[in-house]
Amino acid sequence: MQPVLFEKIVHNEELVPSIFKLVFKSEYIAQNAKPGQFVNIKCCEGINTILRRPISICDVDRDNNYVTIVYQKRGKGTEYLSRAREGDTLNVIGPLGRSFEMSDRYKNIAVVGGGIGIFPLLFLLKESKTMKKTAFIGFRNKENYVLIDEFERYANDLFISTDDGSFGYKGFITDLFENGIANEKFDIIYTCGPEAMMEKVVKASYQAGIPCQVSLEQRMGCGIGACLACVCRIKIISESEKENSNKSWHYKRVCKDGPVFWGHEWYEWGQA
């Protein structure tokens, strides 16, 4: 049985304006989490917000059973969460969802992340046992950028861009990535971030013939696969399924069938 957990918050800190790092102690999640999975958090008691908020797992410390998430304060839920203090209880379910496909076959991996999409990629870099790991991460500007030290630690090559050029390359991270993919034969690409960015990454990977995984976002109800709120369009690829359907796509659940999907399954790259 999967538990609904009530865990102790160890740390909750504003890293840069409106980006918070929260660490909580959870044996169950720390021991079971895989990169790409998320936790679903009740951000306040009572009805001030009701639905749980999905947040990717950014790091786990399996020795001490610490789980780290990094989140942006956006609306009501994350605002409440931002005020949690050390010692408070976190009502959390997880780990949830399909993780990134990690295999020893992939010797040379790349991650491409933008904004809040970088957090699950950090966990992936850390967990990946290969020796060649390249990270492309993009930020709006210098004020937004976080966890650079951690990315430096777990990636062999790190490329950074900011929209305004206040740090690293000025422009889109996809420019750097398209450059990278031209020079380097990656075995797999993992991407998470704004849809427009992921679309470019999927296209470039596809053209280069490299498999690619995307991590999607959608508004969720249950977070466990029961309510069908969180769907996205996914191409029908298997021949048997194609035969049974006159459609080229079907809706899949981000919370259960995803959040990680193969780039080429992601219907028309982006949700039209």
Partner: protein, 305 residues
């Protein structure tokens, strides 16, 4: 382990307790079976079934509102055949009543659904004539006396299992709709389905839901649901299953006092996967605290001022 305190009978179906997972919020039980023991539930009303598989509406399909949610799933489901083949056998492993929630675009579709499901192991039908999220049919049958009369009468002919008719709250007078369902053969009434609502993203200046409108559920609707449960229970003789915003045993007790013989729990499962189980225990504590011998001791026992 059944407990006579909580046993109820609805239209001939014996429930070990009066707490049923509400249609559309519990899928076909698989996901919640990873969190709770489905054997402990009074019943499960499955996701609305249609004759053919349906993809449902575009996402986003859910929005949070004050103490509520709007949903516009649009009846995504694998179709009745896949349900019978793939889902029902799973559900029947558990000792709990299985209610088939059915929806169609035409009365004929409803009848065909009833016919197909009558020979399966389901325990009852729940006629969904109240889903606000699909363009054709469905809710149109549910909001007039003529509509509800006609569909109930027709579908009833094909039902070899008890027929629960689920009412929409989006009507001027729910009493007359309930009486029409009763008069035309409904074995029980369930209510309320969701209330039509809208939420707007003021920065994008568009509705949050891709479908523009959605159905409101959750705590916000509770006082409306309790009122309608009372109204309906006071005019029909058949059992009433109440729902709308139940989050706790206390909430459930309001519905029992108002006249419900059982309750359904929907939205709150999302917030707390243990919701149904906790509510069962809380109802039991309440009955025990007041030394009641049976849930029947409180059903409809509200005293008006």
């Amino acid at each position: 382990m059944t407990d006579s305190l909580l046993k109820v009978e609805i239209a001939g179906i014996k429930l070990k307790n009066p707490v049923i997972a509400a249609s559309g919020t519990f899928g076909f039980g698989r996901e919640y079976s990873e969190f709770i023991d489905l054997n402990k539930l009074g019943g499960i009303s499955v996701k609305g079934l249609t004759l053919k598989p349906r993809e449902g509406n575009k996402p986003p399909r859910i929005a949070e509102t004050p103490a509520g949610i709007l949903n516009s799933i649009g009846l995504q489901n694998p179709g009745v055949d896949a349900f019978i083949k793939d889902e029902l056998p799973f559900l029947k492993q558990f000792d709990t009543a299985i209610i088939a929630n059915i929806a169609g675009n035409t009365i004929e579709e409803y009848c065909e659904l009833a016919e197909k499901l009558s020979d399966t192991d389901i325990d009852a039908f729940e006629l969904n004539v109240s889903c606000p999220n699909v363009k054709e049919g469905c809710v149109a049958f549910g909001n007039t006396v003529e509509g509800i009369s006609k569909i109930t009468k027709q579908v009833k002919k094909y039902c070899k299992k008890p027929l629960i008719v689920k009412l929409t709250p989006n009507v001027t007078d729910i009493k007359e709709i309930a009486m029409a369902a009763e008069a035309n053969g409904a074995d029980a009434i369930s209510l309320i389905n969701t209330i039509l609502g809208m939420a707007i993203d003021i920065h994008k200046r568009r509705p949050i839901l891709a479908n523009n409108f959605g159905g409101l559920s959750g705590p916000a609707v509770k006082p409306i649901a309790v009122r309608m449960t009372y109204e309906v229970a006071s005019v029909v003789k058949i059992p009433v299953i109440g729902m709308g915003g139940i989050t706790s045993g206390d909430d459930a007790i309001e519905f029992f006092l108002a006249g419900a013989s059982a309750v359904m729990v929907g939205t709150w499962n999302f917030v707390n996967p243990y919701a149904c189980i906790e509510i069962i225990n809380q109802i039991k504590s309440y009955l025990t605290m007041y030394k009641y011998k049976s849930i029947y001791d409180i059903i409809g026992k509200i005293q008006l001022n």
